[in-house]
């Protein structure tokens, strides 16, 4: 895979303009006011793991428990009805946000991982047979790989792997070769959490549908940064997590085309997901409730709705423009660090994620050393071990950005990395 060594050409005027608004938005995030240690402010560059939470979302959680702490769907007293209305209103917000045809196409889950498992286990068990094929790409997060490995093993279907190009992008020629009438499902990420790759989803959906296959998009890294219009894209399933888009943990979404969801058997059974139960059998509730057995995370769903309002007010045009600018800036400035290599596509074709390695240093040591400057970056395989094997690496260090990051935080990172190299690297 190619490493990048372009000479920096820096024009930060666009970024500077955008930063006026970034500075205002930063005041929405209480955590940005804290110091990690006395005199050391937090430089949070780990949004790909989880985003920071704006005060409005934190308040929405608290407000729900203050005002409407009641179980949904079951009570007929006032606050229970309010809780139910708030929960279903959150579903409607999600549906509008991703442009689903109806709110019934939105299933609340615990997150991307659970959403993908739900499809693999429910749809997969009902539809996959020996001889069928599922295609995943080589850059998938474990969440969009292991569930498919498991269900293929159980059903006798075959898991095929879509190759990457030298630049870390999906090899569409290889994709065309892999597709056949045997292909039943294509499960692909909307954005790599390691390389920053942004797969051409429209093209992938078109090709997969031509071959008669369904498409699941792992939107964990794409929905928070670019949104998703499921009707325009035409994907069959979309999975994403609240916590990476200013919402709380414990809430995520599975979008599925209604007819698919209706045909799928429930995964969990119990309360809430049934219409009528006798001692010996049960009739399932309608979608989406059929997939929501037990008491759902009501406050988290409501707060996800608040996060969606917040992101919508900011607008993806701003978020995308700022991320493009700060990613380009980081990409260029990081090259000033001796021995640093960035993995993945060039700056103008990637999301707000930059993973790198530094000659002679283990990513763990890098992350620990820059922490002394308050810089939070992640070290490891980022739950994408096969991808790291492909890169010939055990681990990388990753910096990732969101609309609340400033160019000066990239500067802090670069200074911290330069200090790390000065202090730790011994030329043998």
């Amino acid at each position: 895979m190619n490493e990048r060594t372009t000479t920096p050409v820096r024009d930060t005027s666009e970024l500077n303009q955008l930063e006026e608004r970034v500075r205002r938005l930063r005041t929405d995030f209480p955590i940005l006011a804290r110091e990690v240690r006395p005199g050391v402010p937090l430089v949070y560059l780990d949004t790909a793991a989880t985003s920071l939470k704006p005060v409005r979302v934190i308040e929405a959680l608290a407000e729900h428990y203050r005002q409407r702490s009641a179980n949904v769907h079951r009570g007929i007293y006032a606050i229970a009805e309010e809780a139910t209305a708030a929960y279903e209103a959150a579903r409607e917000k999600v549906a509008r946000f991703i442009n689903a045809r109806t709110p019934e196409e939105v299933v609340f889950t615990r997150g991307t991982t659970e959403s993908i498992n739900l499809v693999a286990l429910s749809w997969g068990r009902a539809n996959l047979r020996a001889g069928d094929e599922v295609i995943v790409s080589e850059l998938e997060h474990h969440a969009n790989l292991v569930p498919w490995q498991q269900i293929c093993r159980q059903t006798g279907a075959t898991l095929r792997h879509l190759r990457l190009t030298e630049d870390g992008e999906l090899d569409l020629d290889h994709f065309r070769q892999l597709l056949s009438e045997r292909t039943k499902m294509v499960a692909v990420s909307g954005g790599s959490n390691v390389l920053g790759t942004i797969p051409p989803l429209h093209e992938i959906v078109r090709l997969a549908h031509e071959a008669g296959a369904l498409v699941l998009v792992d939107g964990a890294q794409s929905v928070p940064h670019r949104g998703c219009d499921v009707q325009a894209l035409g994907c069959d399933f979309l999975a994403f997590s609240g916590h990476k888009m200013c919402g709380p943990e414990g809430i995520g979404v599975l979008y599925g085309r209604r007819e698919l969801l209706e045909a799928m058997p429930p995964l969990y059974t119990g309360g809430e997901m049934v219409k009528k139960v006798s001692l010996t059998e049960a009739r399932w509730n309608d979608v989406p409730w059929k997939f929501e057995a037990g008491t759902p995370p009501v406050a988290m769903a409501v707060a996800l709705g608040t996060a969606i309002d917040y992101l919508s007010e900011i607008g993806f045009s701003f978020i995308e423009a700022h991320e493009a600018a700060i990613t380009r800036y980081a990409y260029e400035r990081l090259q000033e660090v001796p021995g640093l290599r960035i993995w993945g596509p060039p700056a103008d074709r990637r999301g707000a994620v930059v993973s790198f390695s530094i000659d002679g240093l283990h990513p763990h040591d890098v992350a620990q050393f820059v922490d002394r400057f308050g810089v939070a970056v992640r070290a490891g395989h980022h739950c994408a071990q096969p991808l790291h094997e492909l890169l010939g690496l055990r681990a990388t260090t990753r910096a990732s950005f969101y609309f609340y990051n400033l160019a000066e935080e990239v500067d802090r990172l670069v200074e911290a990395l330069q200090e790390t190299v000065r202090k730790l690297v011994r030329r043998l």
């Binding site: 793991a49 990513p363 763990h364 620990q368 002394r372 980022h382 739950c383 202090k423």
Partner: protein
């Protein structure tokens, strides 16, 4: 800046990391074992020569962070000449003593990997050089992965 990290990255540990006299392989080890810390990819291999229940010679190899590799190097230094029973009794306390530092729980896993590898090696003298695939791994070594 915090003295805490400076201790981790003090010269003595960096010496162990970059140029340990104990890094390498033995000609004919009696037991050997290799494993990794799946969370961060630290890998350590330990080879031991035994004589009457005593560690006669020992080497390590691998790659990983300063903590894991320095810990392996120090462990080898301390273990040579010791009885197997004694080494088997070592735990967190001893490893931190060798390193001379305090560690957060995440980094403690890096520090403990070499001792775990050595103790597994010493537990299976009749079966030379298990690969980690066959190893009786404890659950706590499983990767925790959520991002």
């Amino acid at each position: 800046m915090s003295g805490f990290d400076d201790e981790i990255y003090r010269d003595e540990l960096l010496d162990h990391y970059y140029s340990s006299p104990r890094r390498g392989r033995l000609e004919q080890p009696d037991v050997a074992f290799e494993d990794e810390n799946p969370l961060c990819g630290d890998r350590v291999r330990v080879e031991v020569k035994l004589a009457n229940g005593t560690i006669e010679d020992i080497r390590f190899d691998g790659d990983g962070c300063v903590i894991s590799q320095a810990s392996a190097s120090l462990l080898c230094e301390k273990a040579v000449g010791k009885r197997v029973e004694e080494v088997n009794r070592w735990g967190v306390k001893e490893v931190l003593q060798f390193l001379g530092i305090q560690l957060t729980p995440v980094r403690l896993r890096c520090a403990l990997l070499p001792l775990k590898v050595l103790q597994v090696a010493l537990a299976i003298p009749e079966k030379k050089g298990w690969s980690s695939a066959e190893s009786p791994r404890s659950d706590s070594d499983e990767p925790r992965c959520a991002h």
